[in-house]
Structures are given as structure tokens and as C-alpha cells.
Symmetry: C2
Subunit: 533 residues, 2 copies
Amino acid sequence: MTTNTQNLSGQSILAGVPTAGNGREVHGYNPATNQALDPAYSLIDTEQLKLATTAAAAAFDSFRSLDPQKHADFLDAIAANIEASGDELVARAMAETGLPEARLVGERGRTCNQLRLFAQVIRQGDHHGVRIDPALPERTPLPRADIRQRKVPVGPVAVFGASNFPLAFSTAGGDTASALAAGCPVVFKAHNAHPGTSEIVGAAITKAVAEFDLHPGVFSLVYGPGASIGQALVADPVIKAVGFTGSRSGGTALMATAAARPEPIPVYAEMSSINPVLFFDGALSRDPEAHATAYLGSVTGSSGQLCTAPGLVFVPVGAAGDAFVEAIGSQVPASPGQTMLTEGIYKSWQQGVDTLGEQGGVQLVGRGRDGEGENAPAPTIYSAGVEQLLANPVLQEEIFGAASLVIRYSDPADLATALAKLEGQLTATLQLEQSDYAAAAQVLPVLEQKVGRILVNGWPTGVEVGHAMVHGGPFPATSAPHTTSVGTLAIERFLRPVAYQNFPEDLLPAPIRQENPWNLNRRVDGVISIAGE
Amino acid sequence: MTTNTQNLSGQSILAGVPTAGNGREVHGYNPATNQALDPAYSLIDTEQLKLATTAAAAAFDSFRSLDPQKHADFLDAIAANIEASGDELVARAMAETGLPEARLVGERGRTCNQLRLFAQVIRQGDHHGVRIDPALPERTPLPRADIRQRKVPVGPVAVFGASNFPLAFSTAGGDTASALAAGCPVVFKAHNAHPGTSEIVGAAITKAVAEFDLHPGVFSLVYGPGASIGQALVADPVIKAVGFTGSRSGGTALMATAAARPEPIPVYAEMSSINPVLFFDGALSRDPEAHATAYLGSVTGSSGQLCTAPGLVFVPVGAAGDAFVEAIGSQVPASPGQTMLTEGIYKSWQQGVDTLGEQGGVQLVGRGRDGEGENAPAPTIYSAGVEQLLANPVLQEEIFGAASLVIRYSDPADLATALAKLEGQLTATLQLEQSDYAAAAQVLPVLEQKVGRILVNGWPTGVEVGHAMVHGGPFPATSAPHTTSVGTLAIERFLRPVAYQNFPEDLLPAPIRQENPWNLNRRVDGVISIAGE
């Protein structure tokens, strides 16, 4: 498989128009070689950004008024166009990210499934959130007017691509899919680490916009420096919400900009999590070696560059725990480093690993071997005691990449204490069998206050895209714990309710007309009424 | 009716314990006389505040785990206890706010109905937001684990009482009711303008907490200076969300504090709105005089101190509009001032009215007459043209109290332009008949982006508490346009989703157990499944 660069323009797509940026140029890099990839990508300036945001504003009214069938078909068409870009997309993503082919083929499938799932949500229509309180003209002392509620899209949304999911959380990823499904135009700021991948997917979206004869402002793809164009995008008065997946520093910088606007807007940032895994003695005793193997697999998959990678594992003191730690020590040296996404991410990982290794009470359990090529460092596992974790906040800082810390605990009661001191997390995992239920039940209330998803007897990496998924959690896991960035509930981030009081049927929008032309489920006087029943 | 002060202690109630504050003392004032009311209320210091927040944290786990029936009964009991406080409550509220008896009796009814409505929500259970994606063990390439989602309360909530609804948006008002319904302990910061009213209601809640043998930290009532205790409350790490109704400056100050915390939290602030009313020519022509009467009634009710009072009214040029303005000019002089809530609010109103009157192009339409006693200024109506509104942001600043601005427009197209320049609003109102539908349809898309509730042929004052109500809207109407502060949807402000993956039935919380012991509606694989069907 080779990377065919002849179809790449190196340009932003501003409301459908490929546009050379007025700023400096950047290249994607092959992280396995640190070699620059062609073409160069020219970065836009703030005046060019205005073309994208102005067009997004102009596109909003027609886009949010689309017939649901056409709206859903549009999302399906994006998926089809991504699939039609074929091997070129996967090859380019491999070159730009160092991620293996199988992972990227799978990620492409997830990306397209995600778009099609949101198309189903549009067709099903519950996201309109229809509530009807019928008029009570005879009520005393005052009659009640007919009041109807539906949700409307918030307006144009800025989406920032993640480095670690160049497809599923980038150009046509979860944030873009949920915003488009809500009826919000998207101005997408590409991650500079995979500009070619972004262009291919951006072209697939742009093609779908044209195929459905939508206003071209429905989607723009911009290349720009995060510190200027990213900030300017969030500050633009046209933008009404922000989707971001990335670092804590990047997310909090956007949050500050959004909060300082004359009209503050929400930032849905998914940032930092170390995803504690709790081994209880019963479960661990069954087969410590197999647990160690599974743990290392979860730590090292995708070179550890997953938001839900287990960075902190609680293991009981005693024979089973000792066997687990010994098994890691014997297994990890055979674990090869895998190419990380960028040289910068690798360096940041190395700094994190070095810093953690220097902390008092932290011991090296084992180190793998360096991988082939550049930026493929050896996976590294440390251990410490609960008391060190409680005393030193450095031990709960995320290290993005293949590194993890084993915490030995002696009493299940210590677990609740330690977990209560953790920051907010995307996930927590319980490794248990029936004899551990009582101990697990003790920590569950703490976990429910700390995380977005709790797993039993699995590993947190691998996030199902469905209706019940929560990829969220208290700060700093996310900036908005009341939502999720994966799964269909994510559409609610880009909607807000509006009430219509005493409207004549002729002026009501379709979702809340009495005749119910879209055949929606409705909450009538507080009780769900299923369409057609 | 006299004010009986013998039952008032002048103390905060910290987790059930009446406590004299270590700070200075304040008094309520009768705004009709500017006379201080006994007793003095001692303000707490930050150490005393810690007693309340620490107790709220300690109360959280047991309170959020309550059986739904007991939880609902607790809210009903608060309502019953408020009713049992009888005439003393209304008399004290009248003395502290200058609001008339009928209004306060009605407001007490609304407050109790609101609590009982949230009790119904708890019993009905849809707020748990149950979603179940069953396991698919045979799925290829990877099986799917069973994933279940429910919503959990966010944690202790800080609520700030509004000045203008001493019952319905104060101690046991909408924010307190929805937070308690969600399962969140409440630390309530009383508004210093009605301390006695707050104490009576706070005692009713405290009594219910004791009657149901709940942890006393479920509710605290604190008196303190907003600038220190209010800010310290929002900054307290125990607090996970804030409910506020009040001024734009007050709300944005709390937003800044909440955003600057190590763990930022959401502030649900309802702040500033001028609630545009749009007269179309057909409707206005029917009976301009009657419309003028209704308008003045909405402007002057409760001395104009309602969040949804119509501060801006668009009236067409031409004969009907002239007749409307003339009718105001002839009717308003007979309109008496009514006592405002506080001397400070009166002075602020006066300053706003003076400033508006000095703006270029703004003309006085008419002024009422001063009311009896202190702080009862004459209602004041100004007019200006669309061009002045577009050019001068002062014309869209909220004046809290009985004042309003009539804007004359010549072309319905100008309406959309003017509305697009307005800030976010709680409401907009269309006065129309069938001949106006086409013109109204032109402005509806703009209004849907600007407001939380759109009314036809009514007046925005008077907010129904139901399932479909939205009392919200884009900034500065609120800080969180995706929610409402009135109506049952408000409970969602204090909930967040958690997913449970691959849990054994024994460890699942009741709302998402397969056997469905709480008989909840559930979304299964994306489709609503009604309990019992």
C-alpha cells in the first residue's frame, strides 16, 4: 500500500471552496521515520476563517429545517463517500499516524457506523424532545394555554479533531456526526498531525453537501495554528458550541476563551483520564498471569494512546497480587514499543514516564523493548502503594501512551478512600467474582460520583458506539459531565429546548404540530405517548 | 394581618441546627416605609459555611439512594409544611417585599404545586433516563457487552434565592425543588431582602427532613454577604452545581468563580431579559386601545419586577400603531406606582429610566403617578424607532421594574433585522391574527435562535409550571440555554449519565436492573419501551 498524494491539495475547504491559506505551511510527518509528508498544508488566517464561520451562519436556517429523511440520507452519504475513498484514506492515515492498518480499517468502520447510527436517530426523531401540555381552558383560577416544547439546534459548532482517532474522532468523527445530526453546521479545525487524512474525509463530506444541494456553509475544514485560529474560531460570535478531544491544557484553554466571550458558550471537551482498574482478591486469585496479559494488552494497544487506557491499576497485597506483579515483570520485557502518533507526543510520554519514575515510593515493575523506527518507546509499568498515591498528586497525572501504575492496597476500605481522592475519570473497571461483590458494592457509590462508565470484568479500551454508552465524566475527564461524546445521547449537546405557547397549528414547526406529521413520540402532560399508538 | 416575629430566630439553619452567625447583622426592610424589620439576622462566616457544605457532602449518598416513594413523599411534606405555616408566611413576605397579599398567596400555591409536581416526576421515574443496549455475544467481529445507562444526581447544589419571587424562586422554590428531586442536597443562600420569609420556609424544609429521618445535611439555609459567602459557597469543592436567579452582574460573577475552580462546575443562572413583544398590523388594528391596556397590565404587574416583563414592544407605524401609542399616553397617567422590592431596586430602576430617557431618539410616551409610600415610582413608557434600537445598545438593557420601550417599525423585514441584533431572551411574543401569519413566519426562525419561549396572543408574564415550559434562553437570559429553570425538565440540570457495562444483576442499581423493580420506562436498543407493556 502506498500513499498517493496526487489527489491532495494542501488546502482548507472553506464552505466547499478549496482555498490556499495565507499563513505559513505545515507538513504531516511519518512518525516512524520523522520524515515530512507531501503536500505542504497552508494555514489560513483569521480573515479566511471568517469565510467559514459566516457561511456556517448563513447555512444554519436551511440546514436545520431539512426534512428528516433528507437529513438522515445526507449523513449516510458522508459514510458512503468515506468508504468510497478506499485504500487511499487508510494508507494516508497509516503514514501520518503510525497506527497499523487493521486498527485504521476498524476505525473507518466505526466512523461510518457512527454516521449511520446518527442517521437512524434522525429518522427515529426522539431527539426533538417533544413535550405537549394541552390547553386547559376551564381551569380555575386561571386557564392554561397550550404549551409545546421541542429541541432546536444551537447553531454553528466548532469541532477540533483528536490526534489519536484520525477518523472516528476527527473530521467526520463523533463530534461532527452528532453536531450535523442535531442540525448544526460544522467548522472543523483539523489536527495538524494528520492533515492529509483530514482532507480526504473533508472532501467526502463536502461531496455529500454538494450531492444533497445543501448550503455549502454546512461544512468547512480549516487548517490553522491552534493558538490563533483555534482560539479565534471559539471566540467567533457565530459559533454556539465547541466539541474538542485532546489534552487538558488544550481543552482548558478553549474553555477559558469560551467563558470570556460576550456570549459565553459551552465547550464539550474530553480531556484527561487515567481510568482506574480495581482488582478484587477473588477475581485476581483465579489466574493472575492471564489478568497480567490482558492488562498489558489494554495498556499497550494503539501504543497506549487511547482516552480510556488503564493508567492506574489497584491490586491487593498478598499472593495473588504478587503473582500478578511478577507476571507483568516477566511478560512486559517481550512487549514491543509501537510507533506513537507524533514526535511531540512521544517526547511528552517520555517526560511523563521519567517524572513518574522519580517520585518517592514509585518502583519500576518492568519495561518492554523499543519498537522499530522512531517514536516507538518501550511500554513501562510502575508500582507504588496507596499511601504514595494519596500523598502525591503526580501519581494521578495522565501519561498519554503505553505506561501504567500498579497500586498495591491492603484493605478494600482503602480503595474507597483512594478513589475519593481521584479526579474525575472517563471509566473505572471492577475485576471481580461473586465473592468480591460485597467489597465492590462498597466502592460503587464513590465510583458513581467520579466516572462516566463503570465496567465489570473487561477492559476500558474499546468504546462501544450505541445508545447506552457514556464517554464522559467529571472534570478533568470532560468539561461537561452531564453529557457524553460517544453514543447517541451526544446529540443533546447541540440542542436546546424552546417552548411554543398558544400557537395556531399553521405556525407550529412540524415536530410539534398536533397532526404529528413526523410521527414522533411525544410527552403529553408528562407521560410518554408512543407514535401511532 | 400582622407580622408575628416571635417565631423568627434571625439565625441560619446549618444542617438542621439553628446557628447564630459570627458576622455582622442585617435586617429585612419594609420597602413601603424603609423601616427595618425585626429580628436582626446574623450573617455566617466561611467557617460556618463549611459546616453546611460538609454536611451536604455527608448527606449525599444516603439522600440519592432514597426509595422513590419516600423521596417523593418528602417533597410533598415540604409543601404541606409550607402550607401549615399559614398566614404568618404571607404576612412576613408582604412586609419584606411590598408585594400584595393576593400575589403572595398565589405564589405560595405555585411553590407548593411545584414541589408536588416534582414529587410526581420522582414517582413516574423517566428522569432516570434508563437506556439499555443488551449484550450481543454472537456479534462479529467483536461481541457487544451489555451496557446500561442511568442518570445520577451531580452532588450538593448551591441555590441562590431571587428577590422577586420570595417563595417560588427562593428557599423552597424551583431550583431547590428540582435539585432535591434530582437527589442533590441543597445549601440555600437566602436573599437578604426577605430573610424572615426565608427562615419560615427553611424551617418547613428542615422539619420535613427531620420527619423523614433524612441526614440533616440534605438542606441548609445560610445568611451571608453575597460577595463573600455567596462566592465561597460556589467555590466550595463539595458543591457540584449552582442555581441562581437574579441580576446579570450577580450571575456572571458566580459564573466566573465557578469557571475558575480547580474543578469547574455549571452555573444555571437566569439573569436578564427584555422579552420583546411584536405587534403585527392585523392584530393591532382590531382594538389598539384594548392592546394598550393589556400591555400596561403586563408592564406594571408586580411593579414590573418579573423576569418576563415586556420591556420592548414592536409596533407598526401607521394608524393602528398611532392609536396604540395614543392609548398608552392616555391610559398610563392613571397607572399608580406599586411598592418595589427594595430601595436599592427602586434606585436602580430610576437610574435605568433616567438613562434610557436621555438616549437620542427616545421619547416619553407617558408616565403614571407615584404610588403610596416609599419606593413606588410611576410606571414609565418610552418610544423610539428601529434605527435607534439598532444603533444604540443602551436601548436593549433590562430595566427591572415598571418601564418599557415601544419601538415603531415600518416594514416587517425590519423586525427580523432588529430581532437578530437582540441578545438572548427568555421570551418573545407575537400579537397576530391570520392575516399576519406570513409576516410572523418570517421572524420565527430568528426568534427560535434568540429565546426560550415564544407566545402567540398572550403576555409573557405568568409562567406556567408544567412539563413543556421553557424558562430559559441564550445568554444573557440564562447562562445555560440547554436547560430551563421552570418546569419538570429542570431536573436534568442536576443529573448526569453513568454507563454500567457487563454488570451482574446483583450489583446493578435498582433503576437499571433487568427485573425493573421501579417499573421504569426504558430505551432498549434506542427504542422506548413503556413499563409494563
